[in-house]
Structures are given as structure tokens and as C-alpha cells.
Symmetry: C2
Subunit: 660 residues, 2 copies
Amino acid sequence: MMTQTTEAQFTQIQITDPFWGQYQSLINEVVIPYQWDALNDNLPETEPSHAIENFKIAAGELKGDFYGMVFQDSDVAKWLESVAYSLSNHPDPKLEGLADQVIELIGKAQGADGYINTYFTVQEPDGRWRNLCECHELYCAGHLIEAGVAYYCATQKSRLLEIVRQFADYIDRVFGTQPGQLQGYPGHPEIELALMRLYEVTDESRYMKLAQFFIEQRGQTPHYYDEEYQRRGETSYWHTHGPAWMIHDKAYSQAHLPLDQQRQAVGHAVRFVYLLTGVAHLASRCGDQRKIALCKTLWDNMVNKQMYVTGGIGSQSEGEAFSCDYDLPNDTAYTETCASIGLIMLARRMLELETNSHYGDVMERALYNTVLAGMALDGKHFFYVNPLEVYPEAIGHNHIYDHVKAVRQRWFGCACCPPNIARLIGSLGNYMYTVKPDQILVNLYIASHATLMTHAGIFQFRMEGHYPRENQMLLHIEQAPESAMTLGLRIPDWCPDAQIDVNGKPLQVNARQHQGYALITRNWQCGDKICLRMVMTPRIIRGNPKLRHSAGQIAVQRGPIVYCIEQSDNGIHLHNIRLSAAAVFTEVAGTGLLADKVLLKTRAVRLQLPSSAADPQWLYRYDADAPQWVEQPLTLIPYFTWANRGEGEMRVWINEQLSL
Amino acid sequence: MMTQTTEAQFTQIQITDPFWGQYQSLINEVVIPYQWDALNDNLPETEPSHAIENFKIAAGELKGDFYGMVFQDSDVAKWLESVAYSLSNHPDPKLEGLADQVIELIGKAQGADGYINTYFTVQEPDGRWRNLCECHELYCAGHLIEAGVAYYCATQKSRLLEIVRQFADYIDRVFGTQPGQLQGYPGHPEIELALMRLYEVTDESRYMKLAQFFIEQRGQTPHYYDEEYQRRGETSYWHTHGPAWMIHDKAYSQAHLPLDQQRQAVGHAVRFVYLLTGVAHLASRCGDQRKIALCKTLWDNMVNKQMYVTGGIGSQSEGEAFSCDYDLPNDTAYTETCASIGLIMLARRMLELETNSHYGDVMERALYNTVLAGMALDGKHFFYVNPLEVYPEAIGHNHIYDHVKAVRQRWFGCACCPPNIARLIGSLGNYMYTVKPDQILVNLYIASHATLMTHAGIFQFRMEGHYPRENQMLLHIEQAPESAMTLGLRIPDWCPDAQIDVNGKPLQVNARQHQGYALITRNWQCGDKICLRMVMTPRIIRGNPKLRHSAGQIAVQRGPIVYCIEQSDNGIHLHNIRLSAAAVFTEVAGTGLLADKVLLKTRAVRLQLPSSAADPQWLYRYDADAPQWVEQPLTLIPYFTWANRGEGEMRVWINEQLSL
């Protein structure tokens, strides 16, 4: 029965939230049509995509050559997955008709054996499965499978699901440990998590076993990537960092070691979190204790030693990769939008493994900060890279900033992030609640109407509130099973004090004792009402003393939102501003582009220029006098709204004023 | 008459200085023999050089292929130049015999037309002068010419001078504006300054005019590099950053604009200062006011907006290049040793253009800090890159540090820096004094005996002192012309108060009114004695408020020496240490490897770890409490001595403690 799978949870939740409703409208009205134009090369000012054209050529509808990235197909798949969520939130027959046409096109481009990949079909028909390390076939397959799962759940139409099942069945015949089968695994993980989702909606255990095969083959010696490299005569698809670098740098692809020997987050950040998402999902379904422990170990290393305060991961551009523990430069950070999306996907699966608000805290941090920063408020401009500190003048001069943009771009040649944002925001319903046999965890506070299937029966409720602008959420129970049920409300890590009333009666909250969730067990009745009030005053954040890049600095967070300062509010040379941890903040409603956002105003100080000349000409000077400071009003804006008002300096970590 | 040229000044000065005497001995006893072994591939643990072998092959003495960098010849030239200075400081018939053999070998490798270049002679005989942009022929020629000039001045032997004159004469026939001549100029400037030196010792104005030609051709359109690229069929020698990047990135080679249209230091830092050294030399000899103004403009931009406090220049690895004004990251700095050597060469020529202690101050800063840091105290290990902040753990994990080493290396494949250090230290006599028609400027305080030729006659004196350990220098006049002469003593920028006695009588010093030199005009007599005492207490340095990378930090300097803190003295996590600008420093004699160096001891504070656990496991925490500090004794060592005691953290800029 379809409604039993967590994959369809988004169909059971209607988001009514002012904050996210606005974003979902933006996705429906701007992003999806804009991306459709991009996929069809109807945006003259951006790089051509050719993605739909590639499918038409592969389907025999047009003549021509493949154009674009070897993984260009995945853009179409991600668009379809976004459309699925959008149709669920906001039915649109015209859009659904368009999607159905694309699905038919994909069907026409599918080989008789089930294979789908326009690059290999059109460009290199003999090259199929010969370069798993570099060529993203299984990655694209994964995205198609995800789209098939989502479209089926959203529309109940099974055409795309059937297409991707045929493809998955074919992959299952090609790969495996039997004689004649390939013992390889994808360079870019993705199909693992997709196969687990396919397993959820089909209940076909072959898909889970295939995911397990890909996961367990990874990193075995002799290395499959070396073997296939030899077999194909040492040819290489990518030459970015010299020939065959991707084959040799095995950590980049999470192939340096078998997973159960890994202890640290290394390599390409997106690949890492995508892979672990599949592993955690598999582990939760198999109850595989070694894999569960492995997921926890790697998660802990990543979020406790290698994550930015914005929920960004991957601190370096080269290899879009993790660095080492506590190496988190703010200005050269890579912190790809997609990596934080993958982090949220992983957090969801970790919550299925373990009830611990820590996962929800990280999910919320990544979502409200890095992921939202990835898209402009207009829905048409995107960041791939999300630094925590920007000095626009140095970009374009110092090549350590080659990957950094000071303002969002319209579309990318490698367009992974924009459609990924769209599908995440469209599918928030999958992340808000974790339904366990005996409990429902509330992970995200998003006003909505939910009808969740539990073992005991239907649990239906409304959540109301204007989070994170306001600090109170109301839950109205509309239907509940007859037996007792536990409802777990996440008490966010940023919340020093939460009050819960049930039907007007205060409840003692000691979230720490329940892994950060306030667990309320009752025989719930229709008409029961829970009120959650979270103290949401701005808080000062400090980094671990080992974090040299935030030493002597503080960050500010209100609710889940990390703040930053921008040049347009506070003038140039933000490094000369100092903020006291004792500062008093006033919450102010934003205006214009920042309407509906909560800005913070406070008083800070700025270095007084050392002479009457406003522009000292010396570079260094001997000066043992204590620096002098002048007061300066300071405006902080949500980090995710930065760079919406033109180019300027920005920083999240602000130098701390220890005394005036 | 040879003694009239400034090129021979080093022969008239015997360094008796304890500090530099030690270095000159190291150069004579360790570096030159070590480099000889390197050039002859007798160092099994280092990359082969093949440089002498290349000459033997080009001379027909051996069969074989060229091996090494296309500019490998320059290592031999720089070694010969170092030997010239060494022989002048420290006669050594065996070494001189060896050098004479090398000179004969070079002569044998010279073509009948005068051409010398082992790469083209051996490897690509038809390629001569076809790739000026990339292939360093004129650069190697420049170094050979410099060696010829130096060897002639040092030994009075003219064999190498004759060889390089033949080569220069040949180049003068090949290049020029006449029909049939090439109108090109070198990708790597060097020959310009070398031709000016050759002009000085030969008085042959053709060499000066050829230098002028190369300087003025530069950056003209259509671009010579594009034209020759077309002519040779768009082939490229280097592919480091993609094909033909060096041809396209014209700023890299200082060819983006004609020099008189340039206003900012851009591109490859070594090329920039080498070129300007030739330009300034030419301008001083021609009295070309436009070129003089140009040199000042570019100098000002470089040292007032793009120089590190250590006298390093070139803040980025890619292109070994300048970035933009005020972009001086400490950890990813490139700050090549050779660039600071070039800066010193340029400062010398600027002093010939203009009496201003500012040039001497920069010369001293680069010399005592970055250049000395380029070589280990053992004379056998070298830094190419000289960062101001190092966290060894991140090197090897974060690729923004790919160019950074935490300890010095033995020898490089591209071995430009080690022989460059050797020739600079050997020729300090050329930098100590600037002899002008009516004055002698004392730029560097190095105990020595000097016999300088002035217009009025011989001026001979002894300088005594133990600078920079001690703060007093004595000048004993031994011989002076009959007419009045001005002696200018540089009052260093770091010196807040200097006292000068002449024959025991205090002299009023108001250096600022004489462009930073205390000018003393007298009819000097044998037996006159000048005593200069400079207040040399440690001083606190602050950066310009536009320098974000030193915001909130201070550096410490005593005399000309910039200090740093190292992990081996002060523990790990140097970013958690804070130093007050009011700190009191105790000068302490170093021991062991740091014997004879002045260390500074003081009290600083270190961040108190926020809980009893020494190793907090959280990455961020909400914490508005003011940080707590514990006292920590702090040891500062001269920056140039860092990384001599193993691998560890280091930083020059120390976070400032504003209040305890």
C-alpha cells in the first residue's frame, strides 16, 4: 500500500506556512518554468543546456549531437522530480501534461534493454558501462529513478516508475557478483539512495540488494576504477586536473577504502553525503548494526569537525571537497548548495535510525542557511558556492577565489544546484516528520496540515505559526488512533527555554533527557491542542577553540537563522567592525526585497581611522597605542538573504569587541 | 676605469660583520659547494639538475639529451655570479679554477655567432628566438651577462665578459627596429637589468640602447607574443594552466600594456621587479623623467599597497603574482624568495634615482626577513614560498596550500631561489652604499671596510658594530677627499630616536627633513669618528585599516627584524594566543640553532578552554560570556629563523589583546 511508504509522505502534507509557502510558490511560478526554459535553451542570456534536445536526439525525433555535461540528463530528471512535488502541492494540469510529454520522451529514448542515457546512446554507443568512475551513468540513472518514485507518489501515474524499473532491472542484470556481471560501482554515488527509494515504493527487495551491492563493492581492491581504466586502454573523460586524476584520486569518489574502514569525511562532499544517505537508509531497513555505527561515526566527524555554522560542508574548491578536521576557511569555502541538500537528505535518514534532535538541528541549520542562500529571493539566480565571508574586490584578482561569486548567477553549465533546491523545497513534507512505529517526531516547524499513517492508524493534525519570524507553534489534533501515541517535538539546540502547553496545561519539558525531543505520550483526541513556545532571542555563537578561522569572532543566530553583515547596511571594511557578545539586538521588520524577514539592529564599534586623513597612505606603522573605536549602528540580515542587493562585502563571523 | 662603476663596488668592500660574515661563510663553505654538487647531479636525494651536463652536451663533450627546465642554464650562471662575489670576499684558487673551467665550457658551448643556450642548441636548434614569451632565452642570456660582469669585476679576468659581450652583440644584431630584426622582448625580464650592468662595465652604449629597446617594445600592439605564436603555428611550450595560457595572460609577463601606461604592480612578481630594476637603472643613466616618475608610481603601489610586513611580494600562488591592493593573505601568500631579492635590487636602483631612506627601509625589510627566511640556518634547505602564517595540518589537505611547505626543502626542480640568495648575500657590498656625485648614502649597517671612489677622490672608512643584535655603529674615516663631502646615514623607519656623535660631539639629527638620511657634510679627515646609536626596542606594528588579513592583530619588530611565534615555543593553536600592544619584551640570547639570535620573551594570554574538558567535542556553541584568558609566557623568534626546529604552527601577525 502506497501510503505506508515514507516516500509518499509529501503527498500527505499540505504546507500552509507563510515562509515556506512563499518559497513553494516561487518554485512553482518561477523556478520550474525558468528551469524548463533553461532545459529547452530558451534563455538567451545563459549557457545552453541542450538537455531536452539530447533526449529528442536519443529518442530519434531529431538528428544531432549530444551537447553538455556527461550528466546532463540528470537536469531533466531533477526537473521532473521537482514537478512531481509541485503538482502535489499545487495541482497544475498544464504542467502535468508537459511532464507527461517529457516522460514519454524519456520512454522513447529508452533502449529495448531498459538503458537510458542520452550521452552514451547518442555519442558513444559502445562506451556504455566502460567508465563508471568518470561518466555518471549510474548517477543519472539514480536521478531518473528518484523522479520516477516521486512522480508516481505525487500523481499515482506509473509510466515513469515503469520506465525506471525497467532500467533498474537492467542495471541489476548488468551488475553483481555473478559470472559475467560487472563488479563496479558509480563514481558519483546517487543510485544507492535512489534504489532504496525505489525499494520503498515497490517493495522489491532486489533494488535494496543492488544498493547494498554498490555500497559494499566500493573501495574493494583491486580497485574497479583501475581495472576498467586498464580495460578501456587508459582513456580518460575528464582532464581538469591532469589526465585520469579522478581515477587516481580515489578519495574524491569515496573509493579509497571500503566504507566500513572509513572514519573521516573526505573527498567530494556531495558524493559523500549522497552515499551515506543510501547507506543510512539501507542500514535502517536491514537493521545492520555495523552500517548504523559507521553512519554515526562519519556523521559525527562531518558535523562536529568539518561543518560551517551555516550548515555548509566541503571547505575547498579543488575536488569540491572536505579538507581536514577544523579547517574551515570562511572566504575560500566551497560549501556547495547541493552538499547541504545532501546533508539534509542524510539527516532525514539518520533520524530514521535514531531519535536524536541533533540530526534535526543540523537539518534545520543547513536548510535555513546554506540551502536558502543558494537561491536569490527572485528565484532566478543561484549560488553554487556559499562562502561565509566575501571581499568582492579580491575576487577576480586573487585566484584562491576563482570559485567564488559575489552575486548569484542565472544558470550554470553544470546546473546541479538550482534543480536540487527546487526538488528539496518541493519535498519538505518528507523531512518535517519522522514516523516511527511508536512515535511521530516533529523535526521542522512549518505550518501545515498532515495526515500521517502510523502502525496504530491515521494521525491527522494542523500546525500553525509563522516560524521562524515568530516563536510560537500550535498543533491542533484532528484525528488520532485510539491507542496511546508519542508525539516528539524537537527542542532546537538554539532554544534555551521552551514551554509546552497541552490543552492549556503546562508540560514539563526536559528535552535533553529524550535526545532533544520533548516526547508527549497520550491517548490523543480530536480537538487536543499543543502550544510550543520557544525563546527565540538572538544568540551569540562561538566556534570550537580549534577553529582558527573563527578565533576572536562571534556569529549571531536568531531561531534557526544565522545572520551576517553586509556592506550595503554597514559600510565598507567589515573587518574593522567589532561586536560585543553582550550587544542588545532589536528585531526589525525588513523592507523592500527583505520584506517579511527579521533584521537585527544593534550598536557595534568601528576602528577609528588613525589620523584625520580618512585614507592613510602607509601600509604598516609602528603604533603601540590601543586602537580607538567609534560607535556604529549595525544591521544584521539573515545570511540566506545576502547578495540580493548588489555586490558588496559580507561576513558571518564578526570580530568580537571585548571591551569598549 | 673599472673602479668608477657601481658594479664593482662589492670588490671595494670587505665585510667584517659578525651577522653577515657568518652568512657569507655559509655561502662560501656550504651553499656554493652544495650547489656545485647539485648542478653536477651529485646529490642523490634531490631532483637531478643536469645543468652542467647540458653545457657539456651543447659543447660537444658528451652525447645526450637536454634535461631540466628550459631555463636550466641560468642556474649555472647564477652559481658563477655567486662564485665571483665569493672569490672577492674570500679568495679560493681551487674554486676559481673550477669557475674558470665552467667558463671555458660555456665558451665551448657558444655558437660561432655568439649564441648560448643549451636547450635550443641541443634540443631544438631550429627553435631559436621563436618563442620569446615562454622559453626564457633572453632571461638565461641576462643571467650569463650578469655572471660575466660580476666575474670580471671580482677577478679582473675578462674571458666570461668577452663571451657574454659576443652574445650581447649577437642579440643586438637580432633584435631591433631595423628591417630583418625581431621586434620582440623577453617573456621573463632580466636581460634589461643585465645589459645595463654590462653597459656600466664596458661603457658601450649599444647595450643600454638594447635594454631600452626591450623595455619600450614591451606591451606594444599588435602583441609580439601573439604574432610569434601565430608564426610558429600556435604551439606552446608550457601547458600548466591550459594551452598557451602564458601567451594569453599578458599581465603575467608584464606585457599587457606599454610600461608608461602601467600604474599598478600586477602579474608575476619576480618579472615585475626584475623589469623595473632595469628600467630604474636606465632612467637614472638617461635622466628620463617619465621613466623615473613611472618607477616611483609603480614602486609606491607595490610597497604601499601590496607588500607584506616581511618585505615579501606576490600574494598568490597562481602566476606567482600580485593580487590587488590590500589583498595580503598570510597563510596562502606566495611571497617568493626571489621576488624579495628582486625588490632589493630595485631598491638599490631607486636609491640611485632619489635620496630617500624609504628605499633603504624596504631593502632592509626584505633582506633581513623574507630573503633570510628563504634559507635554513644550515645553508642546505630553502623556501621558495614564505608565508606569514602556517598550520601544518591543513597543508596536504586543503589545496589552497599546495604551494606552501611547512619546512624547507633541499633543492628544487626549478632552483631559482637558492642560487639567487647566494649571489645576493655575496654581493651585499653593492647595496650597502649609494655613491652619488656629492654624497655617500649608508643604506645598510654592516660592519665592513670600504674604499669608495667619489668624484672628489677616494673615501675610505671602517664600519664597526654588531647590527642588528646591538644598536650602535661606529664609522672610522681612514681617508677622505680634500673637499667637503656629505655622508648620509639612513635613520631606519623603525628607529624612533637616533643619536649621532661626530668626534664625540652630538649632532642634531632631523632625518625626516633629509628624506630619512642624516646628512653630515664636512671636510672629513682621517681619524674622524662617527657614532650612530639607534633606539632598538621592540616595536608594535599595525597594518593599514584596509588590510583585512591583519585586522585585530599586531606584529612585533626589533630593529629590522620582524618576529614570529612558533608552536615549538608556545604550544599549539597559536590563534588562541593574544598579545597586548603594551607588552614588555625581554631580549634573550638564543641557544642551540638560534645561538646569536635575539629572542623576545613576554607575557601574553591564551584562551581558557571553555570547560574542564581539555578537548571540547562541540564545533559551535551558544555562549555570550566573555572569553576567559590564562596567562602564557610568549617567546618570539626572528621570522627568518622559523621552521628550523621541525614542523609546527607559525604566525607573524598575533591577535591583539585589548584588555585583560
